[in-house]
């Protein structure tokens, strides 16, 4: 149900940028730390999109691995949720990547331009 909430947030964001135009594709960047199940998000996206400009749109999800950086200079990609630096044991490592839940871009069908070029 996490993905249901997130699908709603994606569609709200897309709707604002689509400005009424029909959306054919949504490109998302999803960080590993967001604990999103891609298939589940795709399922709910399709469901919540009904009756909106996103109806029938393709959802492209680019998964971003979690990258952490510690003051000691160590950088590591997170597989298990262990945030203490494996090299020096310090807390407070900075998350460099993996927390994003970004709508990168959308493909829309612009009827207006077709009218102009007709």
């Amino acid at each position: 149900m996490h993905e249901l909430s997130l699908a709603g947030a994606v569609i709200d964001t897309v709707e604002r940028h689509a400005a009424g135009r029909r959306v054919t594709a949504v490109y998302l960047r999803v960080g590993h730390l967001r604990q999103v199940v891609p298939d589940s998000l795709a399922f709910y996206f399709e469901h919540v999109a009904r009756g909106t400009v996103c109806e029938g749109a393709r959802l492209e999800q680019e998964l971003v691995p979690a990258l952490l950086h510690c003051d000691c200079g160590n950088e590591w990609t997170l597989d298990d949720p262990v945030f203490r630096c494996p090299a020096c044991g310090e807390a407070g490592a900075e998350v460099v990547a993996g927390e994003e839940f970004l709508v990168e871009s959308i493909d829309v069908v612009s009827e207006q331009e077709s009218a102009c070029t007709a």
Partner: protein
Amino acid sequence: MHRVKVRVVEDALDANNTIARANRADFDAHGVTVVNLMSAPGAGKTTLLERVLADGIDGVRVGVLEGDVQGSMDADRLASLHVPVTQLNTDNGFGGECHLDANMVRSALPALPLHDIDLLIIENVGNLVCPAEFHVGEDARVMVSAVTEGEDKPLKYPLMFRTCDLVLVNKLDLMPHLDVDLDRFLHHLDAVHPDVERMLVSARTGEGIDAWRTWLGELVAARSGAAV
């Protein structure tokens, strides 16, 4: 018909975060410190609130915003403590939301006695996943994890355990009856959120409640100190 790519580059939760900042500004304007209290269903949020509010917090006037999918059972329980309790139901006729978001809290603002309180505790809907995603304008996030939930929960719900400022490890009185390894739980917690503040408590026996009361009082004092 023409296909156009529109660059967006916007966090899908930006809209929620914008409203959360507006809530925060309103809380700030009234000098109200806000705690978002989260946990799985049945971890003991309401009972811990009953415990900590029964004797009050020195010099701090507390209000509670109760988030539930349906019903007002929790609010009714807290009403006997003579603190102002506002009920917020997420049920919109379609099952109801599993979390509070900034907009829901915003809709409840007119019903909150912000002039008469120093601390607002928002009891979120019981859920270890979605509430972690949605800021509501809080100063601090407190989560309750009962020992009965098992020692592996930080590893299974890292998003929630990473986002909180304080973890209340509740139902400590049940330890003699459980096979749960508390040290392992704390080890997993430390892996997911190194050095996070944690308190071992029992809403049933009252163990650790004073420490939590002190923590809340200090949070309010630090906030009002910062505002002056």
